[in-house]
């Protein structure tokens, strides 16, 4: 008898999973998401752990090995300075992934804060922020992005610090989508009863914002953030391809692809620019699939 009740209690407990747990369960039931997650893990390991296993990690630049086609020693050949392309791909991956992540950090911080504040306070604060978002939306992304890139080139920033500015710029021109999403979510949350309760309890604004509203918008932030990483990696690679983003000696996948701007490298040495392109493609596809699966997982109503 007691055992039966106990198991019943347990069953009830199991039913009341936290939203996080049930989202996670829906996520891992999606085969495409698992494949993408595995792929992404492989890429991250390749970029960050791979260099330790490369026989060329301490190799000096020897120009006499330059521009070799793929061989047993150099799986993807060497570049114009005799560097091993596989090792270069790993190092470039670190930069590309980092730029994507950090730029997304900027987007989440800016877009999240602006959306939260606009939605919560409303009134003129909301009008100003949303009007500013409209303005930023109207300005075409690529022209303004390459202009900022050109400004960077003129400022003669040290190449190793330049990547931080690239992250910042990408973040500064792509926060608007998230801020609108968060704002509309906050507006609908404000109408719900738990916010009325918070009001009735006389909670301070800070507590309402951080303890009650923020946890509810985290799912959107996660989904937008994931998709944002993919977008940021694409933007960085476009900028670097045009020679306006990450510049040598710092490598990034987009920067490696700019080798294709040279007609000889483009037509005769495809091993210099096809591998970084494939890396970008695989990474961005994986992240997009994961982001999409997360959206389905957090919002089961959306799914089919």
């Amino acid at each position: 008898m007691t055992i039966a009740t106990e198991s019943k209690v347990r069953a009830v407990k199991r039913k009341a999973d936290s939203p996080w747990k049930s989202a996670w369960r829906r996520f891992i039931r999606n085969p495409m998401a698992i494949a993408a997650l595995t792929m992404l893990t492989v890429i991250v390991l390749f970029s960050f752990v791979g260099p330790f296993f490369s026989p060329y990690k301490d190799a000096r630049i020897t120009v006499k090995n330059a521009n070799q086609p793929p061989s047993a020693e150099h799986w993807l050949g060497t570049d114009n300075l005799g560097r091993d392309v596989v090792l270069r791909l790993m190092q470039a991956g670190q930069i590309s992934l980092l730029v994507g992540l950090m730029a997304t950090g900027v987007i989440l911080l800016l877009g999240g804060t602006i959306g939260l504040v606009s939605g919560f306070y409303g009134g003129w604060v909301d009008s100003i922020f949303m009007r500013f978002a409209d303005i930023m939306f109207a300005i075409p992304t690529l022209p303004i992005l390459i202009t900022f890139g050109a400004i960077l080139s003129d400022l003669k920033f040290p190449p190793d610090r330049r990547i931080y500015l690239v992250m910042l710029i990408i973040g500064l021109i792509s926060w608007m989508g998230l801020s609108r999403l968060v704002r509309s979510q906050v507006l609908s949350l404000k109408e719900q009863e738990f916010m009325l309760a918070a009001e009735a309890l006389g909670l301070r604004d800070r507590r309402k914002l951080f303890a009650h509203l923020l946890p509810n918008i985290i799912p959107i932030m996660i989904v937008s953030g994931t998709l944002g990483v993919a977008g940021a990696i694409l933007l960085e690679s476009a900028l670097s391809f045009l020679g306006l983003g990450v510049i040598p000696p710092t490598p990034s996948w987009g920067q490696m692809l700019s080798a294709a701007n040279n007609m000889v490298d483009f037509s005769k040495r495809p091993w210099l620019w096809i591998p970084p392109g494939v890396m970008i493609l695989i990474t961005v596809v994986s992240i997009n699939v994961i982001g999409d699966a997360l959206r389905d997982a957090f919002d089961p109503k959306m799914k089919r």
């Binding site: 409209d134 303005i135 109207a138 075409p140 303004i144 003129d154 694409l234 294709a260 483009f266 089919r304």
Partner: protein, 322 residues
């Protein structure tokens, strides 16, 4: 409806002014100007000569005054003089924008037609092999970096197999007329159009599939089937028409893109469009050209937003504009 349009237009005035300020600031605060740009950098100008040139171009005045001057001229339809082409900015844009338009319009038609067919079939046969394949390919298409796809196609079809030309809009050294000229341009267009279509088709297909999936679950579709209508009529006449509604917005928002040019693709295929011209303008610090072009696109984007809302209201009577 008329009142609504007027109100929206009035409301967008501050937005366009704000956009013009942001654009002006971005280009004015940029260090370096046409005098220090690459193509004059080689010439050794004395400091006095530089100052003279700056005065000539009005670059030595304070920012608010320069903005006022620029906006004053813009309102009269004068976007200033392009340094690079030594012609009015409007003339430069007029010369090149139609080449971009030709490319983008072809892509837009192909993209929407293909996306419609693929999206509808993939939704009708949900969970089929075709549908899964489409779902995967849509992700790939959405994730392709434009320059990488362009370069791959160029390498494959122009370098390895010389089926298509390496770039440009017409064959050099010959002066075709009439039909031959059209065929020549079409031949040069093939690769850039393929690139841009592949890039844009993913998102649109996804939308078509999504809205179709939503519509075919509605009661009126079940009713149509219960009436014994042919499946083809149900899908194309009853379902597709309703599925198209939310896509009107998407379509209207893509219209400014017709004039914006494709900076990266045009550069790779050396297409003489407005995108390539802007990029050259940027490298040469031809800021009047960049500013004029960016402002026009911003303006068109704002108009397209209004158009999207108005069209949606016209097509769907359930949406009422106040």
């Amino acid at each position: 409806m008329f009142q609504y349009i007027i109100r929206r237009l009035m409301e967008s005035v501050p937005t366009i002014i704000g956009a013009s300020i942001v654009i002006f600031l971005a280009f004015s605060l940029a260090p370096g100007d046409v005098i220090t740009a690459n193509y004059t950098g080689g010439m050794n100008l004395t400091e006095e000569r530089k100052a003279e040139l700056r005065e000539l171009y009005g670059l030595n005045k304070p920012l608010p005054e320069r903005y006022g001057l620029w906006m004053g001229h813009v309102l009269q339809g004068d976007f200033g003089q392009s340094y690079l082409y030594n012609k009015p900015v409007t003339d430069v844009i007029k010369t090149f924008v139609w080449n971009s338009f030709l490319l983008s319009a072809t892509v837009l038609v192909l993209q929407w037609m293909l996306a419609l067919v693929i999206g509808v079939f993939s939704a009708v046969r949900q969970y089929s092999l075709f549908d899964s394949l489409v779902t995967v390919l849509v992700f790939v298409a959405m994730s392709l970096p434009s320059f990488f796809l362009g370069l791959l196609l160029l390498k494959l079809f122009a370098v390895d197999y010389r089926i298509f030309p390496l770039g440009g809009m017409t064959s050099t050294g010959v002066d075709y007329q009439g039909l031959q000229h059209i065929l020549d341009v079409a031949y040069h267009m093939a690769l850039p159009v393929l690139t841009l279509t592949l890039l844009s088709i993913g998102g649109t297909t996804r939308y078509f599939r999504m809205t179709m999936l939503e519509v075919v679950r509605q009661d009126y579709i079940r009713t149509a089937r219960a009436k014994g209508l042919k499946e083809r009529v149900v899908i194309f006449k009853h379902a597709l028409r309703n599925a198209l509604l939310p896509l009107i917005t998407l379509f209207a928002l893509e219209l400014p893109g017709l004039f914006a040019g494709a900076i990266i693709t045009e550069r790779i295929f050396n297409w003489p469009g407005i995108g390539r011209v802007t990029l050259d303008g940027l490298y040469q610090r031809d800021y009047p050209l960049m500013m004029g072009f960016t402002l026009i696109i911003a303006f068109l984007t704002i108009l397209a937003n209004i158009l999207a809302d108005v069209l949606y209201g016209v097509a769907d009577p359930r949406v009422r504009h106040r």
